[in-house]
């Protein structure tokens, strides 16, 4: 239930019109960013003329600071889904760079800021290089790893007299240019600079291949790598960018604090607050952390001065619970569905309260934001939304972003399938595409594959069969580079794939599907396929990729579902999506891993037809399967594995009548 809300909104962002929203060639988000930054800068510079008090500048600085930190965290942890507790480490490196340089050695703060960013970037690189090299790294292991880092850094600082030594450091009030009226103005400008850079980076990442690749990592990392996303490099880029931004902003934070010591910086509270901002704001979009920071900073600042005494933390704690429970995927998703309602509500409530004169600015801000969130949440309730939609359809062209009717879908599918002039499959016996030579694979003491050799030549459909535990899955993993053989060599289209990362193997011409489909859950069917085009051998821009994705969807007869989200598909459709995504990479060889598992007979027939069409388009296929009936129909050749050894290789009729095969495979199955 909770997943639905988030993915729906994420889906509607990329579904619909097609190309990313741009004005001319500049993304709209960038214009907004420039506008807002310029506005804040102007407001801050002329704050006294506008009647802004110093405290307001502090509030702006605080929002900007946390927005920067949250954006920095979000690059890896939000976009790619690797939650980190280590943001305090990046921030802390920045803080202590400033403390040591400006506080203890009188170095100009303008130098300390980039140095802080650089050092934090180096730390991020080291963390990433260690963590992302781990084969079995899961999200929670990464979270735990990063949890330890701030503790270690804090302890090092505490034990190093030239950094902190348990004595703390005063950061002197910095000199400022004449045109900056006060210290707090300087803080706003520095924080604004950092925030602008951070958001610009996040915006650029979000709209780039990097951003789409990270989103794919978030949804299904194995599948992302297999369609050609260089996941390691992308994760490293994200963590290092985040580290640099976090360190820069940390150095500025030290100036805001004025006095720094270890317990202020290396505490779990900081990463928790940052995570809270991103969760409350929304993690999958660059604007989420901004919304979250504005909301939560104002909320907590309000609570700090609210006269609730000993009930303050109780109310605040319950509110935090409420925010996560109500919007586990973030406020941004709700606000973006009804932006005008959100904006108008906020302006009316906040403005009204201010105009009444009875409320302080912070009260008005908080109540305005709260009202905005509440109203958009209410407006988003299905019952209310139905009313709203009915009235809105006439003037809102983008409103029903759902799939077009089945009629049009079926029509276009038929059209394109007839238009898909199937070239006759190239005769078997041509070029050798896959060559497996003497491959052995050990797991600890267990030998999963023992000296296996076979070839796949152009135009073949090879069935790879064997009972459970025969080594089929291991073979698939070796073929697509997810594992390395203990001995032997695999060549794809004449190129040895030894030591290549799976995405490189993908580029060498191997595509695969998964027995349990692994779609990119936050993307529409069309975008799922487009990912494979973008990151495939030839590569393509996002817009191009989406067009080519249509053809692939037509091949599997899924065109009418192009705008649907994967979770609305049934198993058969998901398998077809797997196939569409696999052929989108224009592979030389397609490996189908148990593509018929769990399908009913009608669906199997349909799948067989699809596979024939794919084959007809010139792709050689390896089918990993234990259903012999299907293979007899489809395969041009069958390779049989049993307990890690190859026991037969030949034409289906020959192999299936082979005594050894019957003994090993059928005999066991009958028993």
């Amino acid at each position: 239930m909770t997943a639905t809300a988030g993915t729906t909104t994420a889906g509607s962002a990329t579904a619909g019109t097609g190309a990313p929203k741009t004005v001319g060639t500049i993304p709209r988000g960038l214009l907004v960013l420039i506008g807002v930054s310029a506005l804040v800068a102007v407001v801050a510079t002329f704050s006294s003329d506008l009647g802004l008090a110093s405290y307001h500048l502090v509030l702006i600085s605080t929002v900007l600071f946390w927005a920067t930190q949250a954006t920095s965290w979000n690059l890896l942890s939000g976009f790619a889904g690797y939650f980190s507790f280590g943001q305090g480490a990046f921030l802390g490196v920045g803080v202590f760079t400033m403390a040591v340089m400006a506080g203890r050695n009188d170095v100009n703060y303008l130098l300390a800021i980039p140095v802080g960013g650089l050092l934090a970037g180096v730390l991020a690189f080291v963390i990433g290089a260690v963590a992302f090299r781990l084969r079995s790294l899961r999200g929670e292991i990464f979270a735990l790893l990063t949890l330890a880092v701030p503790f270690i850094l804090g302890s090092i600082a505490l034990n190093t007299r030239s950094i902190d030594g348990g004595l703390g450091t005063t950061i002197p009030t910095p000199d400022r240019p004449d045109w900056v009226p006060s210290f707090q103005h300087l803080m706003v400008l520095l924080n604004l600079g950092a925030a602008t850079i951070a958001v610009a980076v996040a915006l650029a990442v979000y709209h780039s291949r990097l951003g789409r690749g990270l989103a794919a990592v978030h949804d299904a990392e194995d599948a992302a790598e297999v369609v050609g996303v260089p996941t390691f490099r992308y994760k490293m880029t994200a963590i290092v960018l985040g580290g640099v931004l976090g360190g820069m902003s940390g150095a500025i934070f030290a100036m805001m604090l004025g006095y720094v010591e270890v317990p202020v910086v290396f505490v779990l509270y900081i990463p928790l607050f940052i995570i809270l901002i991103c969760v409350a704001g929304g993690r999958r979009h660059w604007a989420g952390p901004l919304i979250g920071a504005a909301l939560l900073v104002v909320l907590t600042e309000w609570f700090k001065v609210a006269k609730l005494d000993q009930y303050r933390d109780i109310v605040l704690g319950l509110l935090l619970v409420g925010i996560v429970v109500i919007a586990p995927d973030g406020m941004f998703g709700r606000l973006r569905r009804h932006p005008w309602i959100a904006l108008v509500t906020f302006l009316v409530v906040a403005g009204g309260l201010l105009a009444s004169g009875y409320y302080a600015e912070l009260d008005a801000l908080l109540y305005g934001m709260a009202a905005s969130v509440v109203v958009t949440t209410l407006a988003g309730l299905p019952r209310v939304e139905r009313l709203w939609r009915r009235q809105a359809t006439s003037d809102s062209p983008a409103a029903p972003a759902a799939a077009p009717g089945p009629g049009t879908g079926a029509g276009s599918a038929t059209r394109s399938s007839t238009g898909f002039a199937a070239p006759p499959p190239p005769p078997p016996g041509g070029r050798v595409l896959v060559s497996v030579e003497g491959v052995t694979k050990d797991f600890g003491g267990v030998r999963a594959l023992d000296n296996v050799s076979f070839d796949v030549t152009e135009g073949e459909i090879v069935g790879l069969v064997g009972p459970n535990g025969s080594g089929k899955t291991t073979m698939v993993n070796l073929l697509c580079g997810a594992m390395q053989p203990t001995a032997g060599a695999i060549t794809i289209d004449g190129r040895a794939i030894k030591g290549l990362a799976p995405h490189r193997v993908a580029h060498a011409g191997v595509a695969r599907t998964y027995q349990i489909p692994k779609p990119f859950t936050s993307m529409t069917v069309r975008d799922n396929v487009a990912m494979a085009v973008m990151f495939g051998r030839t590569g393509a821009s996002y817009a191009e990729a989406r067009q080519r994705a249509e053809q692939c969807l037509a091949t599997v007869h899924m065109q009418h579902l192009a705008d649907a989200l994967p979770e609305s598909l049934n198993l058969h459709q998901r398998q077809l999506l797997e196939m569409a995504r696999a052929i989108a990479a224009e592979p030389a060889v397609l490996i189908l891993d148990e593509a018929f598992a769990g399908l009913n007979p009608a669906e199997i027939d349909d799948a067989v037809a699809v596979i024939r069409r794919i084959h007809a388009s010139g792709v050689s296929i390896i089918i990993v399967e234990h259903r012999l009936r299907v293979l007899q129909q489809l395969a041009t050749r069958i390779v049989v594995l049993n307990r890690g050894t190859l026991i037969a290789d030949g034409a289906p009729s020959t192999v299936l009548n082979d005594a050894v095969v019957v003994q090993a495979y059928l005999g066991r199955q009958r028993a």
């Binding site: 110093s54 502090v58 919304i291 700090k304």
Partner: protein, 418 residues
């Protein structure tokens, strides 16, 4: 349509948060009106320092009520607006900025509790030119602002002063200690007594060496240390004459407990800033323990100070009891708090104005009269740290008693070894 409007919304929220701030002028300075004079501060009412923060809260409330009962200040009532900084230094700057430039800005400010927080608040006070009396900051070299006024003073060089005063006192014992074990917490409020400041390495070890004493154990441990056996074992093995715990709160209690489990009890113990109640909770183990102190409400001291002091102490104790505080005695923390308040009020009276420049000047010129620390004079060259009047207290018969220096002592130093 909707998609396009989205970034605009993000923008609008930011813009609105900025724009909305500008719509209201801060209330003007109410000098001369019948409005109360508002004094603002933060205190550690929750979090790690809260056990001491509550003492400062009760002391401040007692002070303000007594001030108003006596006719207020400049003929106006006085109000104290105290915000909770959650013991977190991060909160200090925003909260003091809020007090000074938020809606209904305060007229005067007073410091928060604990050195790091005071240092952070000092930055704000300096930018606003506000007088900042504070209760308990110890790192004199870092307190550089000319209008900050300490409510306690450990002299110009606390890292030298504290060990010397301790060793002076111990030298009067029949058999002064020769071998010293030190355990130091890595916290800015305590570590300097062992390690010195910045480039100045003066501390217990160097001064002990100057005086021909031998440091047999010098252990440092992080805040939040859990296992005390190692330190206890190291001390027990070394068999020192004196154990110095340069620590805060309940650390010394844990250390003595751990030593007791090993069947060891140091002959002499000195603790820097212990939580007074828990130390007394050690009952027999605590007997004879020394600690740093500014004031203890012992009868002889109260007799010396007179009825006003007695009434203040009684008032404080009854409020502390009502608030369910476990150790209700009026001692160092409360006295430092009281002194800080008196400095502020005396300054205002001397300047006859709420103008901070005038108050600051008046304090530099005339000093301040305080109940528990007497007349204080402030020299900006010494960062306003007045001639120290601090001393050493000792647990005697289950209670803290001031024993040093002699002119402030309520009882003789007892040698727990006899």
């Amino acid at each position: 349509m909707r998609r396009r409007a989205l970034p605009a919304l993000a923008a609008a929220l930011l813009v609105a948060s900025v724009g909305a701030c500008s719509t209201r002028e801060p209330t003007t300075d109410p000098t001369g009106s019948d409005e109360p004079i508002v004094i603002g501060s933060t205190l550690a009412l929750t979090g790690a320092f809260a056990a001491t923060g509550i003492i400062h809260k009760i002391a401040g409330e007692t002070f303000i009520d007594r001030l108003n009962d006596a006719g207020g200040l400049l003929g106006r009532r006085v109000e104290w607006r105290v915000l909770d900084d959650q013991s977190n230094t991060q909160n200090i700057v925003p909260l003091y900025e809020q007090l000074l430039s938020g809606p209904d800005p305060v007229d005067l400010i007073i410091g928060p509790y604990a050195t790091p927080n005071i240092l952070a608040a000092m930055g704000v006070a300096e930018r606003y030119g506000k007088v900042l009396p504070h209760h308990t900051a110890v790192l004199r070299p870092q307190l550089t602002y000319e209008c900050q006024f300490p409510g306690w003073s450990i002299g110009p060089n606390p890292n030298r002063f504290i060990p010397e005063q301790l060793f002076d006192m111990l030298a009067t014992l029949p058999n002064p200690p020769k071998r010293i074990a030190i355990a130091t917490v890595q916290n800015g409020s305590a570590a300097f007594v062992t390690n010195g400041f910045d480039d100045d390495p003066t501390g217990v070890p160097t001064i002990a060496a100057e005086r021909g004493m031998q440091v047999v154990v010098n252990e440092q441990y992080p805040v939040g240390n859990q296992d005390w056996t190692g330190i206890a074992q190291a001390v027990a093995n070394a068999q020192p004459d004196l154990f110095i715990s340069n620590s805060l709160g309940a650390d010394v209690v844990n250390q003595l407990n751990a030593m007791a489990q090993l069947g060891y009890h140091p002959p002499l113990t000195f603790a820097l800033f212990p939580a007074p109640g828990p130390v007394l909770g050690l009952s027999d183990l605590a007997e004879g323990v020394f600690a740093w102190s500014m004031f203890e409400a012992n009868q002889p001291a109260l007799d010396r100070l007179g009825d006003e002091a007695k009434a203040i102490v009684a008032d404080f104790v009854s409020r502390a009891e009502a608030q369910n505080v476990s150790y209700t005695a009026f001692e160092t923390q409360a006295a430092a708090s009281w002194t800080a308040w008196e400095i502020l009020i005396d300054g205002v009276k001397a300047a006859n104005s709420l103008d901070d420049k005038a108050i600051c000047d008046a304090l530099h010129e005339k000093g301040a009269d305080t109940t528990f620390a007497g007349h204080l004079t402030f020299d900006p060259a010494q960062n306003n740290f007045w001639e120290t009047k601090v001393g050493i207290k000792q647990v005697q018969d289950g209670d803290w008693v001031m024993v040093w220096p002699r002119d402030q002592a309520s009882a003789e130093v007892r040698d727990p070894r006899t």
